[in-house]
Symmetry: C2
Subunit: 197 residues, 2 copies
């Protein structure tokens, strides 16, 4: 019942993940109540991102420079490629500050249900990178879901022919994890992969 | 660890109600993956709203025209004013399509805890409207919280001197409400205000 321009904006915002019509309406009213302090800076920030941010043609990361900061950083190891599902997983690993190599964004996971096959993902470009430099270590940092593990299996099969080292992240009890609350699968995995101290 | 322009946008989005850093990040990545279909229309819609939408000086509604569509609609009864806390409550009543009078947005509720007194709210302008036209019926559509009821009490005290009719929304069992799940206060109120059928 608001003006059509407002309803249009609320409708567009409501399409974003984690938002719905009610939270979109609250967001718009919050922005309108702080026009100069919040609304104007937000619109400007959006315009800047829309204009400047691009997908890196080498790794698939989003950045304002091409190639992205990570790909053009010579201090990072070029012989380690961490394969991730999407840009948000890449950013999560960067926040943890544990990996100093390069990345490769698949753009999704194999999924028979959703009809996503190998051709929909950035797999050929990964194989091409490995063929160019067979000394590379490939670290598969994919989710431990059915789709994630199917994709990891498929990738290690394809990469086996290239002669490169393929590893995956370790699995087990997460830091701060109460054993009582863990699912059986994780506990079984943690027992199987136990380490001598 | 994303580009500073991206982090800036994520930070601004994370300040919106119901959003946090994680959902802001997901929203930005979703927008970047659908630049033409989602991102460009969203930025355009925001620019339009930022430029056109204003607060109505008469009722406090947000609209693209001044006075707002409701205040300038002659088919709506001018002798009924519905007093609401904020614009989202006004929109909720408009969506229900039950009221064909005018509105008055208070801009908040009296709250000793938050230090909000009568001078922070649009109370004087409401009294001025009533003094100009004492035939007006004032409908207090305020939340049934402590702050809402304090504000309703204060307003009916102040309005009593003006000689206008003051009413509030009825209280009781909501539509679709299971008695078993209702709080004691609502049940007590529903019994006290019972109606003969």
């Amino acid at each position: 019942m608001a003006a059509p321009e407002l309803e249009h904006l609320i409708g567009l915002l409501a399409k974003l993940p984690t938002l719905g019509p009610r939270s979109a309406r609250r967001a718009v009213l919050a922005l309108l109540s702080k026009k100069e302090k919040q609304f104007v800076p937000l619109v400007e920030a959006m315009e800047t991102v829309l204009e400047k941010v691009q997908t890196c043609p080498i790794c698939g990361n989003m950045d304002t420079v091409v190639p992205c900061t990570i790909c053009s950083d010579d201090s990072r190891r070029g012989n380690q490629i961490c394969v991730v599902r999407d840009v948000s997983d890449l950013w999560a690993i960067e926040r943890a500050n544990v990996f100093k190599g390069r990345y490769h964004v698949l753009g999704g996971l194999l999924s028979a249900l959703d009809g996503i096959g190998p051709d929909e993902l950035q797999i050929e470009s990964l194989l091409a990178k490995v063929r160019q430099n067979p000394e590379t270590e490939i670290i598969l940092a994919l989710p431990t879901t059915v789709e994630g593990q199917t994709t990891a299996h498929y990738l290690s099969d394809r990469l086996a022919d290239c002669g490169c080292v393929v590893s995956t992240l370790s699995r087990g009890v997460p830091v701060g994890g109460e054993l009582d609350y863990l699912d059986d699968g994780t506990l079984q995995m943690a027992f199987k992969a136990r380490r001598q101290v």
